[in-house]
Symmetry: C2
Subunit: 390 residues, 2 copies
């Protein structure tokens, strides 16, 4: 298990400390696994206290044998004020908490334990800081993308005639795990469940879902109505594969489309429009571009081709064509028509202009790009044309 | 996809409505997937409003094409007061929310949108109601347990000499999926991640984890330090398999232990103590027993055998020997020494007295039981002795 390099931990800590100062707070409390990992390189059950300057303090419930000189063992948050006092730190009056991740009851208990300080939400700010990746993080994403491409290249050899989407997905899942996928697929937001990714065969791609992902699918359980639903992979239809690129803690995101024999020319043409959108965006933008500009260019190409009714779904259409990616699959920025966000150098984002063709299925590709001053770096290096399964 | 029978939905709704009345509230708002599914048979992105009597209202953001006569489409919670007014319902002044599941920011936004009503937490009450299962729910658990046993029986045929814990786990995961596992393994609580279950080989069973599960393990990622870590399955050691029983929305829970050639007699003897604890508990208790009584009897048997240092871990020892199970793997009640909870008829619980033997590995079994007036029904029907892998 790789330890987090000290220079990485230091630079992340400093960026959060700057935010604490800017938000005029005395402390920030990190409780989510993903942000603990981002700041410490490991996770624990407990509370990470950061101050505008100096070392953080880790109040740890579990594991019981944690080895970190900044750690102090506790049983419950009510012990924290006394422990702070003992080391000469006065109780913070204005604290930042991860209000988008912490439960209402845990947050109110923490507030009461700390004598009712004023609280503000730091979730969005931390996600914004995390959206700009370091070279260390980008190297993980590139490596994940390489393995991701390698696994997708195995898909034609995993396919057998008469398979369902789910049967093929299970073989892909196995290959993902054999190549180092950690399994769990981290997404941000309440109830945003997903299991190792999504496969959409034929008209199942039209099914609207409760989740805020690009496309839906019926799934196999009413508790997870998303993705593959047991559809037979039929000649003349397409299969869209959007399985996780979680081979490293920092992930990539990639979708490819497969054609199941005698797929109509129309599907190939519309698939090419998705590739054209990628190429036009690569050619026209670089660091400093607005997310909305990318969306509007994509929309223009979609309209020129008369494909608006099929863009990002049919019955339910997603209102974005891409999103940041990193420790979670849905990071900021989001590429929407009204976004005011700027693509800063170091931002990594997935671009996924997709179409759903009734009677055929979903087509299009998704690549992950990194923003540089000189242009966008494509880290997804994998055949983009539709790939035949036979 | 099975629809929820009307009599089930009705009876659950009535039990929540009774709680609304008992807690002297005007309304209850359900936002978690698991409780939406429990009450509706499907999930959506939005807010389910329940009142002390009458039909609930579902304020739905997604999917955009929901088919339910109780549903009203919304974009944001701020629209709810006007929509309630239009149908002649006055704004609730005292509301119950799922404070253990809803984020702090979502809860405060909801409070503001509804004109700052008084709020109380209903998470614990709903989990308590859910802990008593109906016959419909128990049938799902029994069915899940039958498939679970069938998949475990395949394990000796999946084993090959020289495998790691992870390699074997990947083949088990594939069999689970082929036999209908939904993949996602639902657990309650913040940061309580787990991927399809846990396998502990040799001394990896001693590794303390940040999670509140029975045992730990190092895992393969710092973002998921739990379970298999790539340990070679060596002669003379044990492998404890605690993979998910998520073949139906209502789950079962089961652990079995495998012996990798020439495992010392001591491991067999201690494994038998775990079985003895199960048998003693089956023999001595029935509905009306206190959870603490079960724990104390187990502890007595452990102490008689001088096994306290190895019980429920070594470096870090869990303080419970079992837990309720259902839509989530960690439901109430929890079998702890100081619990005041009573085992009511209809409660389904997993019993998992486990030992960790340094230099050998974890031993013991976990079964799922249902509480009846006449005694405990064992729904886990699978060989209990240690199973040889060779």
């Amino acid at each position: 298990m790789n330890k987090l390099p000290l220079y990485e931990a230091d630079s992340r800590l400093k960026r959060v400390q700057q935010t604490i100062t800017e938000m005029e707070a005395d402390a920030c409390i990190i409780t989510s696994s993903v942000n603990q990992y981002w700041l410490c390189g490991f996770i624990f059950d407990g509370f990470m206290f950061l101050f505008p300057e100096g070392d953080p303090i880790l109040f740890v419930k579990r594991p019981s044998n944690i080895v970190d000189e900044r750690a102090k063992q506790i049983r419950k948050p009510e012990q924290i004020p006394d422990m702070l006092r003992e080391i000469g730190i006065s109780l913070p009056k204005r604290i930042l908490v991860e209000a988008d991740q912490l439960s209402f009851s845990a947050a109110t208990r923490l507030q009461a334990a700390l004598g009712m300080p004023e609280t503000k939400n730091i979730s969005g700010e931390v996600r914004k800081i995390r959206s700009v990746k370091s070279e260390y993080e980008l190297e993980q994403m590139r490596e994940s993308a390489r393995i991701h491409a390698y696994v997708y290249e195995l898909i034609p050899s995993l396919y057998r005639e008469g398979m369902t989407d789910l049967e093929l997905q299970i073989e892909i899942e196995r290959q993902m795990r054999l190549h180092g996928s950690v399994g769990i697929f981290r997404s941000f937001g309440e109830n945003m469940d997903i299991f190792m990714g999504s496969m959409l065969a034929g008209d199942n791609a039209q099914t609207a879902s409760p989740y805020d992902y690009a496309l839906g699918g019926a799934g196999i359980s009413p508790l997870l109505p998303l993705g593959a639903n047991g559809t037979l992979l039929l000649p003349g239809t397409t299969l869209m594969v959007d399985m996780a690129g979680n081979y490293r803690p920092w992930m990539d995101d990639m979708t490819r489309t497969f054609a199941i024999e005698h797929t109509p020319d129309m599907a190939y043409k519309v698939h090419q429009v998705s590739i054209d959108i990628h190429n036009a965006i690569m050619k026209n933008f670089r660091a400093g571009a607005l997310c909305s500009e990318l969306y509007l260019l994509a929309e223009e190409i979609v309209n020129q081709n008369g494909l608006a009714p099929y863009f990002m779904g049919t019955i339910q259409q997603a209102q974005f064509i891409g999103h940041g990616v990193g420790l979670e699959i849905n990071e900021p920025p989001v590429l929407t028509p009204r976004s005011r966000e700027v693509l800063e150098p170091g931002i990594a984002f997935a671009l996924e202009p997709k179409f759903v063709l009734p009677g055929i299925g979903a087509v299009g590709i998704e690549n992950t790009y990194v923003v540089h001053e000189s242009g966008f770096e494509k880290i997804t290096l994998c055949e983009e044309a539709m790939i035949a399964l036979s």
